[in-house]
Amino acid sequence: MTDPVTLPDGTPVTARAGLASAVDTAAAVRAGTSSATEVLEAHLARIEAADGALHAFNHVMADRARADAAAVDAAVAAGRDPGPLAGVTVALKDNLCTRGVPTTCSSRILEGWTPPYDATVVERLRAAGAVLVGKTNLDEFAMGSSTENSAFGPTRNPWDPARVPGGSSGGSAAAVAAGLTTVALGSDTGGSIRQPAALCGVVGVKPTYGLVSRYGLVAFASSLDQIGPFAPTVADAAVVLEAIAGHDRRDSTSIPQPAPGLTAQLGEGVEGLRIGIVSELSGQGIDGFEPDVLARLHEAADALTSAGAKIDTVSVPSAVAGLSAYYMIAPAEASSNLARYDGVRYGLRREAPNTAAMMAASRTAGFGPEVKRRIMLGTYALSAGYWDAFYGRAQRIRTVMIAEFAKVYENFDLLICPTSPCVAFEFGAKADPLTMYLNDVCTIPSNLTGQPAISVPFGTDATGLPVGIQVMAPLLGEAAMFRAAAALEQAAAGKES
């Protein structure tokens, strides 16, 4: 059985005993029955007690958080509306810009850099009354599936500290799983919210591309990156997404619509919804799916059927190629996005006799091996003579995938599959890059198509490690997606009791 990280009193952090959900916290703070300061202090104490073992945080914003909490309490006392997320503690992946607070992307090249501006999502959370507790650890520049690529040391899975929390948003996932914060934000380019959510037993959402502004998210792969919430419950994830979603004029790719309402329909159930199990992503196309993971998937499908949904298997053949297409497109965009780290204007610099040498020396010293690999892969995919065969071809296969999913969604409302082929693995178990990349096979298609997807905890494997089930929806199909997620959550709770 797993051996979760414990608090000084011996209870496992993963039990999150005594901690309220975001929905309940906000309700209590707004009603005056809870103070934001109390909520914050409880979390700061947990961080103090457990983060030494976990290393979920790169930086705890204790002073700022206390000021934020005090401001919320003052607003409540003065009878002003403190916002829909009043007093809710939020941790931010350390690739989200926070003014005056270090934003490192867990890389030496940005060690100590503080942005002169806040990301749009940070502004919106503040405006909603949230209390920002700190910056969480990630795979360097969001490149990885285990948080082992952090330049500042890995984050440990609260369920078993010998295992990874997943990645790249491992710190945010672990922080929520361990109750160090109520909710957190991560970024998802190939599964970096959903996969760690699955491995840490929490809810993780990648919204429709363009639903949440990327302004202030340090770019990895611009046409794939999206910011999304980690939360202990589906309702919490919906409420946080509502607060950060909606058009932002500073992001040209932002969907020109206000945030959709997501929480109202949550309890409506799945009666009549047509839900497809993607055969290629459920052990019938790609190898490497752990039997326990597949078992939980089938139980999830059964649970949805019991709840009134119509379940069937469906084939999406191009989904298999998603992995390869992703590993052409994402590194290509990344190689360009990371060119700006050259030691000239900010970040790490290694002096040299001329500028080109200085840039090379700085980048070489500042970037870790995975980042270097991906920059080289991406540069190669874009280079003369290879552009058409690699980057060009991958972008066209993207079109094929989008068309195929569109066709599938003519007959289905939602799709499900495991979030990850495996549960949390041990540190060092997937040292070979290609092996590591295969973790993303289920999550990647949604990034390529831009469609939303959510990971919902659904049981564990035989040793007690969490399993996550992924629900996928068409573009802007979050409402139905959350309904199915809520149904799964209810069924999972039913299993436990």
Binding site: R345, R349, P353, R363, I375, M376, T379, Y380, R393, L434
Partner: protein
């Protein structure tokens, strides 16, 4: 098949200095990824256009109005590794840009 020379060339383009050991280690790793990507070649892409944006939008503009971000100059220069007279200082730039 990706060669050590290809990797060296690409590293240079990306301004990354790789040691011999790193070249030896990275080459097979990158080659494996490219090899895996061979499955992309099997698709018939006749007439298929690329997707550059998963959510298609056009004509996103902003008005031609100045927005001064307060203290940007000070903060930007404060973050710089080397500054002289409000300018970013770098080692001599050899040659001309392309």
């Amino acid at each position: 098949m990706l060669t050590r020379q290809d990797v060296a060339k690409v590293a240079k383009l990306a301004l990354l200095d790789l040691s011999d050991a790193e070249l030896d280690r990275f080459t097979p790793q990158l080659a494996a990824v490219l090899e895996h990507a061979r499955d992309l070649q099997s698709f018939d892409l006749d007439g298929v256009l690329p997707t550059h944006h998963p959510f298609p939008l056009v004509n996103v503009f902003r008005p031609d109005e100045v927005e001064l971000a307060e203290d940007v100059r000070e903060e930007a220069l404060a973050a710089a590794p080397a500054v002289e007279d409000h300018l970013f200082r770098v080692p001599p730039v050899l040659g001309e840009p392309a």
